[in-house]
Symmetry: C4
Subunit: 123 residues, 4 copies
């Protein structure tokens, strides 16, 4: 299996809601890039973050083993972390074809809200 | 009618929220792949599930009659079932062209939350 | 302007939640196909509804004037209406190129939930 | 970098919920077009708004610097503003390739609801 999908994807929406962070991790506000590597090769993934008012951050790197999915939480990126309450976009590049879907869980209020969309392929 | 759509689709996001399961079935947390077979032929559909930390499961098989839709709930898959609280992705293959849309209803809190997106075609 | 978009679209997800119908119309549970006709010609739109267990209904017809949008609510279709609490899919055809986006507002609980995705073009 | 994406996009869904406007700005009901300009050139963006029952408004213009994202709120457009409680669609054109994602936050009830989808590219 050579892999399914594309090698470069854009998520134009990005926003980590400010949050008191006392909720259990799956229920705390977060955004994720869900990335499927259906190939039989390891995928090396590089994420670059764009902002409204400063130069891009990254690239951040992740490895996805063959035939595995990675649900990457943007609030897990470090050095530097993405600030909360700040508009951003992301560009995700992989050396093997992958499929990327974007999700946000918003828990600023007592109930939660969700959004999701497939990212836009640009290679 | 030869069918509308494509023969292979990817849903990169997958997550069945943990749930006490006492809610009526339409309101309990679930994910679905809504699949339209607009053709005049029966569609044989095979679903394969990818995880973060183990080999893929499936294929699970379903038949969709001509000119019918199937709203397949992922929590209905058996042998083996998909564990709750676990990240996954899915690849859906059909022998006639179909269209696939992904939906999650989340009822972990007292109110419900929804997400939906068209899956990504890869044939 | 010859029009923007495509002439045939599929929305694989469809579900009108059962509802006590006492809410103001914008807040009552509904699904909509938002259709933009950016052309300088009238668009004749035909909608066909597919079910899990019976033959398709329709076509339902609507006219969209030049340079106008139509946010068509599926609960407004008549002869026959789409039953609530029932899985369906829809195929939308237009004689000029249009763009179609799908939305559901769900008010079964006291709070509302939303989903939206661009439909899948198949011409 | 010549830019990522496409030069013309459609968002068929548009609706600014009526709102008492006393909420903090990030939590008040709004729709946004999130636009990434990953190129090394300034992007000149023009937005045109289509309605159900009158001629289109705009174009509204915005500049996005190189390597920057703009999360444009539709309730910030002026001369004329988009009326609340009114169906609309939008067409977004840029002189360099960009990627556009659409988001709505709905705060008509006490809890919030979210939707998002990548816009439809038409160039």
């Amino acid at each position: 299996m050579e892999g399914l999908g594309r090698k470069r994807w854009v998520i134009a929406e990005g926003y980590l809601p400010e949050d008191d962070r006392r909720l259990p991790r799956p229920l705390a506000s977060h955004e994720a890039a869900c990335i499927l590597n259906a190939s039989d090769r390891e995928a090396r993934v590089r994420i670059r973050i764009y902002f409204a008012d400063r130069e891009p951050a990254g690239p951040y790197e992740r490895i996805i083993p063959p035939r595995r999915t990675l649900h990457l939480r943007f609030d897990d990126l470090q050095d530097p972390p993405i600030p909360r309450g700040t508009d951003y976009s992301s560009v995700i590049e992989s050396d093997v074809p992958v499929v990327v879907q974007h999700t946000r869980l918003d828990a600023r209020r007592s109930e939660l809200a969700l959004l999701s969309t497939v990212a836009f392929p640009v290679d």
